[in-house]
């Protein structure tokens, strides 16, 4: 295809092979371009972009405290992104990680409330199991309706997020509200035994290692097992999957169960590892940012921790700019959106070589 702009011709040539370095170059360039375009947004808000980005970088990665806080933000992003990525790989456009996270937080709270007397080695695994199953069940619902009724999963997963968020509201304002917390709507503090330990001197809870373990496990599952192959076949070409005799329904239910379960663990981490309570507004939209995190990592589970770390920094740094320059947090959200935009837009380089020349 050739596009003509005045005397310049731009030709899109289909690539014969896909060079490996592109997998690193494209996301990197996308982030750089997003920051460049983002600086236009910052200028229009009356902020000098260079100082702003410097402040952002300092708040995100500048010292050991900011680094640790960035990792704290990266934990839920990582889990939610992995839960999202595995369903995307199966061609299921699930943007329900936010709701699954909320349901996970709710389930984790319930599990600790019901088992509050038990020792840590009982209550924490129990909470994980309850959380995983609850988030997984929640995540499977849209898959069921997709296969049985053809309901578009983008809409159903998105709508179910609101249901989940409002369900949390109901419990923290209603039956589970801690009367001792006065104006602060939250549940009573978790018993000591139900809390996930943190690395000494930081707020980095051990959910981090669970998340890293899941990354490796997912990678193994996707590349080494029959289930993983089936998932990628379904995601690559649903008709070929049917032709190959793969049970698409069963596999979609399974993959949304796993994806929902993993995303729900993010909610458990926030409740049991960070806040030690279920507050109103447990997530500032981790589940949505997770979509961007997953795409930036090209849906590769082992690349997600790095991409989550970057976005944790962006979130954290965003608070920095917000405080220093008194600009709304929406500006930082805009930059996030720009990253997704450019990751997707620049994906064209995976398929095409672009040649620009003067017209003959």
């Amino acid at each position: 295809m050739v596009v003509r702009l005045g005397s310049i011709e731009i030709e899109f040539r289909k690539r014969g092979t896909r060079p490996r370095y592109l997998a690193y170059l494209v996301p990197f360039v996308a982030v750089v371009v997003a920051l460049l375009v983002g600086s236009v947004v910052l200028v229009s808000a009356g902020v000098d972009p260079l100082t702003a980005y410097l402040a952002l970088f300092n708040t995100a990665f500048g010292n050991s405290y900011s680094l640790s806080e960035t990792i704290v933000k990266a934990i839920p992003l990582m889990l939610a992104a992995m839960g999202t990525a595995i369903t995307f790989l199966a061609g299921f456009w699930n943007i329900g990680a936010e709701g699954q996270l909320q349901i996970g937080a709710l389930a984790a709270t319930w599990a600790t409330l019901t088992f509050s007397g038990a020792p840590a080695f009982v209550i924490i695994p129990w909470t994980m199991l309850v959380t995983f199953v609850a988030g997984g069940a929640w995540g499977m619902i849209p898959a069921f309706f997709k296969v049985k009724l053809g309901a578009d999963e983008i809409l159903t997963t998105l709508m179910m997020n609101y249901v989940a968020i409002l369900a949390v509201f109901y419990f923290v304002y209603g039956p589970w509200r801690d009367p001792a917390a006065y104006g602060n709507p939250r549940t009573p503090l978790l018993p000591e035994s139900a809390r996930i330990p943190a690395i000494l001197g930081t707020r980095i809870h051990l959910t981090l290692f669970v998340a890293l373990g899941i990354a490796v496990l997912l990678y193994w599952l996707l590349t080494r097992t029959k289930f993983g192959l089936e998932i990628r076949i379904i995601g690559g070409n649903k008709d070929a999957a049917k032709y190959a005799g793969i049970n698409v329904f069963k596999n979609l239910l399974l993959v949304t169960l796993i994806g929902g379960g993993i995303a729900a663990l993010a909610g458990m981490g926030e409740v049991a590892g960070l806040h030690y309570t279920l507050p109103k507004g447990i997530s500032p939209g981790y589940g949505y940012t997770a979509v961007v995190v997953a795409w930036l990592a090209r849906l590769n589970p082992v690349a997600i921790p790095a991409s989550a770390f970057l976005f944790g920094g962006l979130l954290n740094g965003g608070y920095g700019i917000q405080m220093v320059f008194a600009v709304p947090i929406a500006l930082v959200n805009a930059i996030q959106a720009l990253v997704l935009f450019f990751v997707l837009a620049l994906s064209i380089f995976y398929e095409y070589n672009i040649v620009v020349r003067r017209r003959r």
């Binding site: 040539r13 080494r224 192959l229």
Partner: protein, 535 residues
């Protein structure tokens, strides 16, 4: 250098093109309507057109012949303005032109009849034809005027079609006439026809040939481009240009050549036109269909009481115009579509409406109609695609895990045995050519464990002569091993040369089953058009 100012020369006087053929033959110096000189066009890694010269005169049928990938489609797309050449010049009526879009081409009097018709079923013939044109009575339609002009055109060229009929009521042959009329209505004096006979019954092919001759006699220039139907090319054309690997091999007067010579020029070597046929006598029925019924995606009856039996080592060909139930037949047998009645037996075991996986395990292989859409996962690599339907086999995987070492060994063997050209087994299959893709699918399907029947749909469609030969030979060697093969094809020559028996399908019914040795092409043609077999 600033942008070049482009001047298009537009012929607004159609009468000047209506020269008599006799005049043309008398004046040997008759100028070409279209002349393409030194056309060069590259795609990544492919020199699609390498300094190609091509010309056509009024009143001439000049066929463009070549295998898939020879560059004939590229050349015609350049003439029709879909691609721009990197080098070379195009002259229309002796004037240099630059054709930037199909609109420019149409203004220059160049029309294209596509292989897949671009018509709207719910509109009438006239409506389809004026679609997109400026009406003389804007904002109202001038259907009466259009209909008058249309009737004139169809009378002059013998293109019989009812202007008031809705498109969906027309046969494929009639729809093609509408496509031709559409081009003529827009003032085409040069008509490019993309594989014009590929969707027609033998009778319709004959009618089309009469029409093409008539158009040429009326002074039009006609360029049919054709992949393998050499017999038709010989019967219809005045001149033939043969292309191979982006170059023109020869431009010849049809009178001075023959089919064998053309095939050799196309492929660059001697070609065995006949595939070896082997009789494997066996009475044992492997795949049996009993009064099978099914509905299509529109909810209409697609298969009506289809009963067939394929014996061990037998190839049963299904002949028919595309869209008469062939697709549904293959889908029902392989479990991709539910049967609404009847039974399917494999080795005596009832597999009607079982899951695809169970049917595969019962011993049925499937080379699907749509290679890219259903046969492979384009983004996955060659290794993964080669085990797409066999990864569950105990030799390649345990209960849960893929056995990487044995998969690699299996895949390496298939790549070598079937000559699949790929940079490595880690390359994405989207990068493979059509012939290699089909080799991959065939390799996978015919090497499946306990294969006793193979359903193969349009196995050589769109493939070059080399790949076609390979695939046909593979089918024959499979037959020798005793596999029962259901061969669905639109290529009658293929069916005739490979099959032991031929079943003709029309509107979802089997019109009759003929023995290949006794079948006559005319008889098959009539049955394809709905005539019941004469007993």
């Amino acid at each position: 250098m600033g942008p070049r100012r482009i001047v298009l020369y537009i012929n607004r006087n159609p009468s000047s093109t209506r020269r008599k053929v006799s005049e043309l033959q008398e004046t040997e110096s008759a100028a070409a309507v279209v002349q393409m000189k030194g056309i060069t066009k590259t795609f990544p890694g492919v020199l699609a057109n390498d300094h190609v010269d091509f010309d056509i005169r009024s009143g001439e049928i000049h066929a463009l012949l070549g295998e898939n990938g020879a560059g004939k489609t590229t050349l015609m797309n350049i003439l029709y303005g879909l691609y721009q050449p990197e080098e070379g010049e195009i002259y229309v009526d002796g004037r240099r032109v630059i054709i930037n879009s199909p609109k420019d081409a149409i203004n220059l009097g160049i029309g294209m009849v596509h292989q897949l018709f671009r018509l709207i079923p719910s509109l009438t013939v006239t409506e389809n034809i004026v679609l997109g044109l400026r009406s003389s009575r804007r904002p109202f339609l001038d259907l009466d005027v259009a209909e008058k002009k249309l009737t004139d055109l169809s009378d002059r060229y013998g293109l019989k079609v009812d202007p008031k009929a809705k498109l969906w009521q027309l046969s494929v042959g009639e729809q093609q006439r509408v496509e031709i009329l559409k081009a003529l209505y827009r003032g085409a004096k040069v008509l490019i026809m993309d594989e014009p006979t590929s969707v027609l019954t033998p009778q319709e092919v004959n009618e089309l040939m009469v029409i093409m001759k008539k158009m040429a006699a009326e002074g039009l220039a006609v360029i049919p481009f054709v992949t393998h139907k050499l017999r038709e090319v010989m019967a219809i054309s005045d001149r033939i240009t043969v292309m191979r690997r982006g170059k023109v091999v020869a431009t010849i007067q049809t009178k001075t050549t023959n089919e064998r010579d053309l095939a050799m020029k196309m492929v660059g070597r001697m070609v065995l036109m006949e595939t070896e046929t082997v009789k494997v006598p066996s009475e044992r029925a492997i795949l049996e269909l009993e009064r099978l019924r099914a509905i299509n995606d529109k909810g209409l009856l697609a298969l009506e009481d289809v009963s067939l039996s394929i014996r061990q080592g037998e190839i049963l060909g299904i002949a028919g115009v595309a869209g008469n139930g062939q697709t549904e037949l293959a889908e029902v047998i392989t479990g991709l579509r539910k049967a609404t009645g009847g039974r399917i037996l494999i080795n005596g075991k009832d597999i009607t409406n079982r899951s695809t996986r169970e049917i595969m395990e019962a011993g049925i292989g499937h080379v699907p109609e749509k290679r890219v859409e259903t046969g492979v996962v384009p983004d996955l690599n060659v290794r993964e695609n080669l085990i797409l339907t066999s990864y569950d086999d105990p030799s390649l995987s345990s209960r849960f895990l893929l056995e990487r070492a044995s998969i690699d060994r299996h895949v390496d063997k298939l790549i070598a045995d079937f000559g699949i050209m790929t940079p490595s087994k880690d390359s994405q299959v989207r990068l493979l050519s059509g012939g290699n893709l089909q080799r991959l699918i065939l390799a996978r399907e015919v090497t499946r464990k306990n294969l006793s029947a193979l359903v193969t749909v349009y196995p050589t469609r769109g493939l070059d002569v080399g790949a076609t030969e390979f695939i046909r030979n593979t089918l024959v060697s499979l037959k020798k091993k005793g596999v029962a093969i259901l061969l669905i094809s639109e290529d009658l020559d293929e069916i005739l040369s490979l099959s032991d028996r031929i079943a003709v399908v029309f509107k979802g019914r089997i019109m009759g089953v003929l023995s290949a040795s006794e079948a006559k092409i005319d008889e098959i043609g009539l049955m394809m058009a709905g005539a019941v077999k004469a007993e």
